[in-house]
């Protein structure tokens, strides 16, 4: 699963990159036809306090000698608004978004009222009960309520997935932008490090870390995961930053006396926000999968801190797998629903970056 995932990410990023190229082309064409907008502006100016010289600035045909070829117009990656518009226009993505928000709100809200101790306490009088009036989804081998565990597990999986995504994408963005912006030797060295991280059997190393660290909480656990999962973002952001920094507004900012830090954080990163959001969403799906996988093989949180993977792990017992589907099927469905929702949203967001595929 570890390298498999890297591989899939590779493909994802290849696609993403090639899509970005397309997107550039498309965006150029779209922004390259500013006629309508300007006609409108011109009318406003006529009414307003505008001097007449500007009115005459309306381009009435980009074909003139020396005019900017509309295909070579610079692009800018899609902004937050375009992305949300696309998600709303895509019925499936909109449905996924609503479902995801409901699930998230539900589990985070409900866990505030559920008593974790009560749920995870072993009750030997109610072992492996099928769903009934008292336990809506039955109980496990320790007599613990599956429904409660499912709610808490969903919350834990989501929380870890989000934390890991925040950490890994956050670090990956900064790393990638710095590498792409400074280029040259710095970039070379930084990319060698990424190459190295990408060939590490990270799942195994995480397992070892989890085993030997005496105690860990949600933050340190997420941190260990994030430490190996930032490379995809870093590579993607780097290649984008390299394209973006060739645009003259970056040069302009430098000549106006802005420091490198300022150029990177106030000029470059805001222009990459759209892609970063898309990348973050798709990583969230992957991270939820990885976390539940780790818990599944027993290297996530302990049983009294259930995650969705913990419930799945009960199914490694052949009796449970065969005869007590109420224990593991809800968790499996929940994982699938979450991952599909997040992926649907992410894919729709990614389409927003490719004008050819846009539905909005």
């Amino acid at each position: 699963m570890d390298n498999k995932d890297n591989y899939n990410k590779n493909i994802d990023h290849e696609n993403e990159e090639s899509r970005l190229h397309n997107e550039q082309r498309e965006e150029r064409q779209i922004q390259g036809d500013p006629f309508e907008a300007h006609d409108k502006e011109a009318h406003e100016y006529e009414k307003g306090d505008m001097d007449m010289t500007v009115k005459a600035d309306i381009p009435h045909g980009a074909s003139g000698h020396g005019a900017l070829d509309s295909k070579n117009l610079p692009k800018s990656p899609p902004g937050w608004k375009v992305i949300m518009k696309e998600v709303i226009a895509d019925k499936l993505a909109l449905f996924s978004l609503i479902l995801f928000v409901i699930i998230t709100a539900y589990v985070f809200g409900l866990t505030m009222f559920l008593n974790r101790q009560e749920i995870v306490t072993v009750d030997l009088f109610a072992i492996n009960e099928p769903p009934n009036d008292m336990f809506r989804l039955g109980t496990d081998y320790g007599g613990r309520d599956i429904f409660g565990q499912l709610i808490i597990g969903t919350r834990n999986s989501l929380a870890i997935g989000m934390l890991v995504t925040l950490m890994s994408v956050g670090f990956g963005v900064v790393y990638g932008v710095v590498s792409g912006y400074f280029a040259g030797q710095i970039d070379n060295a930084m990319m060698r490090v990424v190459d190295f991280f990408m060939v590490l059997p990270f799942l195994m190393i995480i397992i070892v870390f989890v085993t030997i660290s005496p105690s860990y909480d949600i933050f340190s656990f997420s941190f260990i995961m994030a430490a190996f999962l930032w490379t995809g973002t870093a590579r993607l952001v780097r290649s984008l930053a390299m394209q973006e920094k060739e645009l003259d507004y970056i040069n302009a900012s430098k000549t106006l006396g802005s420091s490198h830090m300022k150029v990177v954080f106030t000029q470059l990163i805001p222009n990459l926000v759209g892609i970063i959001i898309v990348n973050g969403t798709l990583s969230l799906a992957a991270n939820i999968g990885i976390e539940s996988g780790l818990s599944f093989i027993g290297f996530g949180f302990p049983e009294d801190y259930p995650s969705l993977g913990t419930l799945m792990a009960y199914a490694t017992n052949s009796q449970t797998l065969q005869h007590r589907p109420w224990i593991w099927v809800p968790a499996a469905i929940m994982i699938l629903v979450l991952m599909l929702c997040v992926r649907n949203i992410g894919e729709a967001m990614r389409r927003a970056g490719d004008a050819r595929q846009r539905k909005a």
Binding site: N3, I207, V208, M312, L336, R343
Partner: protein, 320 residues
């Protein structure tokens, strides 16, 4: 070409060194050392100390690291505390099982994935393509372990078509026809579980490759020249779209080897991934450590292989 290969090898070497240092430190972080499993508590402290010095356990880390590397080059990978056997023997028992599993899965991935991708790309936006795309969409969102469990539940337990665990039936003579058949029978479920999820990347990649190639000028030219439609696809488009997939072969193999951890666990399949989990839970860290090193080296070599294939296929990739 040769230049690229050599330069790529030069990058590989430091990767291997850093990996080995990393694994070495990971090993020293793990509780217990070569002695903790060997000695019983009745031996006096001085004797232990003497033994420690003899084994060089109190040396500075770089000396220990050097000794560790030298020992490995001589084939000494340490001793498994749990099995009380050399690590290499323990791994050797499991190695072939994982190799078989990976081989089967790879064949299945290409055997199923390539036609799916081809059909999906050729007849894009047809009902068939939509079905296949829907499948890859689901496949991307389904964690392998869930899929493995469902397959096991359905075909192993409910329908009872295939064995649910192990790598071979009991009491069979190694080498006999029955033995081989039993092995294959045991491989079916785990390798399908790996392949059916693993192929989605290949399908998607091939599909988008074909759709992209379809619009290229040389394809339009081929059509204009009157090349038969089947030949346009089989000779021109397929050949062009298959190359990048061929290049991912190295990554694919490595991914399969590493990815078998979940499947080997679900199917109680005695391979290396299972061995890794077992050795972690029995705190047999000397085995776990060597396995990490082993997988790491494999990944480095797989990336190397893929990059070299890619550089043959696509000259643009060659680093300046």
């Amino acid at each position: 070409m040769l230049k690229f290969t050599i330069r790529r090898l030069l990058i590989t070497f430091p990767q291997l060194v850093i990996l080995s240092i990393l694994v070495f430190f990971l090993g020293s972080l793990m509780p217990g050392d070569a002695l903790s499993g060997l000695l019983d508590p009745n031996i006096p402290a001085e004797a232990i100390q003497a033994k420690r010095e003899e084994l060089g356990l109190d040396n500075p880390w770089y000396i220990q690291y050097r000794d560790w590397i030298f020992a490995m080059f001589q084939g000494d990978f340490g001793t498994s505390i749990f099995h009380q056997r050399p690590v290499m023997d323990v791994i050797g028992d499991r190695l072939m099982n994982t190799v078989w599993l990976s081989l089967f899965s790879t064949i299945l991935i290409y055997l199923i994935g390539l036609p799916l991708g081809l059909v999906s790309g050729r007849y894009n936006d047809s009902l068939l393509d939509n079905t296949i795309t829907g499948y890859t969409y689901l496949g991307f969102a389904t964690p392998q372990f869930i899929f493995g469990l469902v397959i096991l539940w359905l075909f192993g337990y409910n329908l009872g078509w295939f064995p649910t665990g192990g790598s071979v039936g009991p009491g069979l003579e190694p080498g006999s026809i029955d033995y081989i058949l039993s092995k294959i029978n045991h491989l079916v479920l785990p390798s399908f579980a790996i392949a059916l999820i693993g192929l989605v990347g290949t399908v998607q990649y091939l599909r988008s490759g074909i759709i992209e190639t379809k619009q290229k000028d040389f394809i339009i030219l081929a059509r204009a020249k009157g090349v038969k439609e089947s030949s346009v696809y089989n000779r021109h488009i397929f050949r062009n779209s298959i190359l990048p997939i061929a290049a991912f072969f190295g990554y694919e193999i490595v991914a399969l080897l590493g990815g078998s951890i979940f499947i080997e666990m679900i199917y109680s399949y005695p391979g290396m991934g299972r061995l890794f989990l077992d050795s972690i839970s029995t705190r047999d860290f000397s085995v776990a450590n060597v396995l990490i090193l082993f997988y790491g080296i494999l990944a480095i070599l797989g990336a190397l292989l893929s990059d070299i294939i890619l550089s043959i296929v696509d000259p643009r990739i060659r680093i300046k």
